[in-house]
């Protein structure tokens, strides 16, 4: 006597043994399998026939594993790069704010001067956001994954070095409200350069991923 639930459990075991990961891919494939079996049974096939047909249509475990591997392997690294990108954006957006605040809250400054300071900060933030959002359109598509990641890592490292030596060593010292405009502009430029440099790795991944074509057979 054919036991549908047992057959599905055996199919799951075969998929697991072949390396189809649980929970997401396998759960989703099982959901599809059950859906197909139910539809075929509705159209008059027996449970056994429906199961056999659905298993054939869903494909062989080694092929499926190969396709899923193509998705997850490079993308795990890509996720790390994207996370690094998000952290960079957060740092580059919030740190300048703390650097600008003493100028903006200083008592000796006129309202016009404060507004000017705020405008410089807004320009810096806008440049950072726009460059992160659209830099992938200007960056070249590097198909060689190793080269692409190496360039990205070099840019991240360069950005960190720029922050370490550029911002903290070469910035004008002393936050004197009277000469506020020069340090503000320099801070703005420094943080923008850092953000753009840090965004190259993220942008290169995005540019490359837009060129990829999926494989279905």
């Amino acid at each position: 006597m054919f036991d549908l639930e047992q057959s599905i459990a055996d199919w799951r075991q075969r998929m697991l043994a072949a390396g189809i990961k649980t929970p997401v891919p396998l759960e989703e494939l099982e959901s599809h399998l059950r859906e197909d079996i139910a539809q075929q049974m509705k159209s008059g096939l027996s449970a056994q026939q429906s199961f056999g047909s659905a298993v054939n249509k869903i494909g062989q475990a080694p092929e499926l594993k190969r396709e899923f591997k193509k998705v997850s392997a490079p993308m795990e690294i890509q996720k790390i790069i994207q996370l690094a990108g998000v952290i960079f954006v957060a740092v580059t957006l919030f740190c300048p704010l703390f650097l600008f605040l003493p100028f903006l809250l200083a008592h000796g400054l006129s309202l016009t001067a404060k507004m000017l300071g705020l405008a410089i900060y807004a320009t810096t933030v806008s440049t950072i956001v726009l460059s992160w959002r659209y830099n992938h359109k200007l960056l070249p598509v590097i198909r060689n994954q190793l080269l692409r990641r190496a360039v990205g890592i070099v840019c991240y490292a360069g950005s960190l070095l720029w922050m370490r030596f550029g911002v903290f060593h070469f910035s004008p010292g002393g936050l004197h409200p009277q000469s506020f405009l020069v340090p503000l502009v320099i801070f703005g430029l420094e943080w923008t350069v850092m953000a753009i440099l840090g965004g190259v790795g993220h942008g290169l991944e995005k540019a490359a991923s837009r060129q990829d074509q999926p494989a279905v057979s």
Binding site: S31, E35, I58, G59
Partner: protein, 115 residues
């Protein structure tokens, strides 16, 4: 009588992303329904190995073109739904432009053969 044969594997692979994006542009859907819809609209000429759609969907999700959520079917069965993101809409428009261009070139060449 001209008859369209089963579509070649390479063309099936290349058309997967624009088809999925265009179907999701009509609203949220799930793997099984996407496969059935493509099969029905192509009169069974465009057939995917069912399981192979899922790596494609996952890849598109990783690329930020679509998003997914687990939900329930009408019968209470667990089901993963996919929907289009803003970047997916842009990618779909690009696909449409490119496929239209290929189509118009082919149609033009075909027309010339009968002149």
């Amino acid at each position: 009588m001209y008859r369209v044969s089963m579509i070649r594997k390479e063309l099936v692979a290349a058309s997967a992303e624009p088809l999925v994006l265009s179907l999701l542009a009509r609203g949220e859907s799930y793997g099984y329904a996407i496969i059935q819809e493509v099969k029905a609209r192509s009169n069974g000429k465009l057939q995917w190995t069912d399981g192979m759609l899922y790596p494609v969907l996952h890849r598109m999700e990783h690329r930020g073109l679509i998003r997914s959520r687990w939900g329930e079917s009408e019968t209470g069965r667990k089901r993963k739904y996919y929907s289009l993101k803003k970047d997916g809409k842009t990618a779909m428009q690009k696909h449409h432009e490119q496929w239209s261009l290929v189509h118009s070139v082919l149609a033009g060449l075909r027309k010339e053969q009968y002149v």
